[in-house]
Amino acid sequence: MQQIESDIIRRCRKGDKGAFRYVVQNCQGMVYSLSLKMLADAEEARDAVQDTFIKVWQNIGTYDDRYSFSTWVYTIASRICLDRLRKVRPIGPAETDERVFEQVADDSDPERLLESSEWVSVIKVLADGLGGKQKLVFTLSQLEGLDTAQITEITGLDAEQIKSNLYAAKKNIRERLIKMGYGKD
């Protein structure tokens, strides 16, 4: 997770927009990553990033220095994403999404980084039918690579709830992928 120096945050609190621009430049990648993986829509993700930083700017006075700034930003972003997910009607994966997913899954290069559009397709296939909480826990844990303590801080869920949500999400994904022919090798 991106770390921001406390001096920069102090300057932001005083209304220094130059300092805040630095925060945006350094943190928008992680917020976009979470938003894209949660919302599976590039435009929605950009809007969520904007909403997140507006909220960060408005509430930076309430940020508690004892906690990680990135975790705090993640918390705001995840709430915004959950809110947006509640408002939009979920659209299942299209045939083109499944084709993109197959290409990515069959790619022999494990180091290849996915493009934004590929992420949208992959997420549409992977997370189709997951509930908001399951999707959030799955994204934070499996796709963002955060540990349980960080997920607890962001979501407010305890370790057991995280475990059960993650289990349910993985089971759901595995079953769907098996149906698509992506079972055991």
Partner: protein
């Protein structure tokens, strides 16, 4: 290892690149500038609308005086003032008779004189009543 697990492992920690990151930063900063400008103009608008305390007090006091005056006027008009002077004025109103047909001219003359006296007494009483309310 299952193929799905393998794939999830490959995706783990991958950060998708933000398309046109500079434009996104600019749009965020512009949105914040707009927000601050709106908040500022909102505050200015509110302070311009703010009414000084003395004016509020003056408005309240004058409204109250107007209400009191209205009530007094209505009570005086309907003769509902419950003090002895008023009762006397009401009594005088009743006893003030112009003339009677059966009476002799001398008696009618006396009646007219009596009426004039009553009228003047009533005028004095009304004056007293108004004066008692500091009008």
């Amino acid at each position: 290892m299952e193929k799905t697990d393998d794939m999830l492992e490959r995706l783990k920690g991958q950060i998708p690149e933000v398309p046109d990151a500079a434009a996104l930063t600019d749009s965020i900063m512009a949105a914040i500038d707009n927000l601050d400008r709106n908040a500022e103009s909102g505050i200015k608008g509110k302070s311009a609308e703010r009414i000084p305390l003395w004016l509020t007090v003056l408005r309240t006091a004058s409204s109250m005086v107007a209400i009191v005056l209205l009530v007094l006027y209505m009570r005086l008009e309907t003769g509902a003032v419950g003090n002895s002077d008023d009762e006397r004025a009401e009594y005088l109103e009743i006893v003030a008779v112009d003339e009677c047909e059966e009476c002799s001219p001398a008696e009618n003359y006396n009646l007219r004189r009596e009426k004039m006296r009553v009228m003047s007494e009533r005028a004095i009483l009304k004056k007293k009543i108004y004066a008692s309310f500091d009008l």
